[in-house]
């Protein structure tokens, strides 16, 4: 099980390096999604399956979708179709696809081996008991933080008539 950890770590570092050196934001986002998926696999090998699931759902799912929405909103216009065709050439998506395929092979190997990674697996039940026991105040504070984020994003995202006076 050690080898899966090392392979996932190397993929995480390579894809992060590619993500911060791309010129185009969409290409960088493709590599960033692969990086987050490989970190999720690292969590799985470290014996934290609940954190791995949250990483895939929230980071690679919600946050990356938010980024892609904003990137797409920023270049609306006539040339969007042409840019779309130009961005999705084979040379662009073959890199993230190869890295993601290696991660998939690794995941299938781990599922086939029937192991959950390390010997010390901390499952969701232990996390939940601790989360709503001693850490209850932290959960309340996190909910207040999310509420503040919601209100702030609503206020900032509202387009008023005079943009200059904003």
């Amino acid at each position: 099980m050690e080898i899966t950890f090392y392979v996932a770590s190397v993929i995480a570092i390579i894809s992060t390096l590619m993500a911060i050196t791309r010129i185009n934001a969409v290409h960088a986002l493709l590599y960033l999604v692969v990086s987050l998926l490989s970190v999720a696999l690292i969590f799985f090998t470290l014996g934290a399956p609940f954190a791995a699931v949250l990483e895939v759902i929230i980071y690679a799912g919600a946050i990356m979708v938010l980024f892609i929405f904003v990137v797409m909103m920023l270049n609306l216009g006539e040339e969007t179709m042409r840019l779309e065709r130009q961005w999705l050439t084979t040379g662009i998506w073959i890199g993230p696809v190869i890295l993601a395929a290696v991660l998939l092979i690794e995941l299938i190997y781990m599922l086939g081996a029937g192991a959950t990674g390390s010997a010390l697996t901390v499952d969701a039940k232990q996390v939940g008991i601790l989360l709503f026991g001693p850490y209850l105040l932290a959960v309340e504070l996190a909910s207040m933080l999310l509420l503040a984020g919601l209100v702030g994003a609503y206020y900032l995202g509202k387009r008023d008539h005079g943009e200059e006076e904003a």
Binding site: F5, Y6, S9, A12, I13, T16, L17, A19, I20, A25, A28, L29, L32, S35, L36, V39, I42, F43, L46, G47, A48, F50, A51, L54, E55, I58, Y59, A62, I63, L66, F67, V70, V71, M73, L74, S118, L120, V122, Q126, V127, I129, L130, L131, Y135, A138, A142, L145, L146, A148, G149, L150, G152, A153, L156, G157, R159, E163, E164, A166
Partner: protein
């Protein structure tokens, strides 16, 4: 698994380099996400070293922080783009109130 902390440190440094080098605001925000993700990886690695669930709790809190931060940051980026028609941080530093 001390190598988990090593990977977290490398990812954090990569995110820091991204923040310092890139001048596009979207890339700066993406690099901040990379750094927060590396911090979460460090927490989970430390928690799994001792077999405790506290590391994952801290990861969930970091995740909450990242979600709130990215929503506010992207709303600000949209606002800046509509007002100034650019996302270059050097151009925006000449902004006058």
């Amino acid at each position: 698994m001390d190598y988990g902390l090593l990977v977290a440190a490398i990812l954090f440094v990569l995110g820091l380099v991204g923040v310092l080098v890139r001048r596009n605001l979207i890339f700066v925000l993406m690099s901040i996400e990379i750094m927060l993700n590396a911090v979460g990886l460090a927490f989970v690695a430390a928690g799994s070293r001792f077999g405790e669930a506290d590391g994952q709790i801290m990861f969930i809190l970091v995740l909450t922080l990242a979600a709130a931060e990215v929503s506010i940051g992207l709303a600000l980026i949209l606002r800046i783009f509509y007002s100034f028609k650019t996302l270059d941080a050097d151009t925006l530093s000449r902004m006058r109130g």
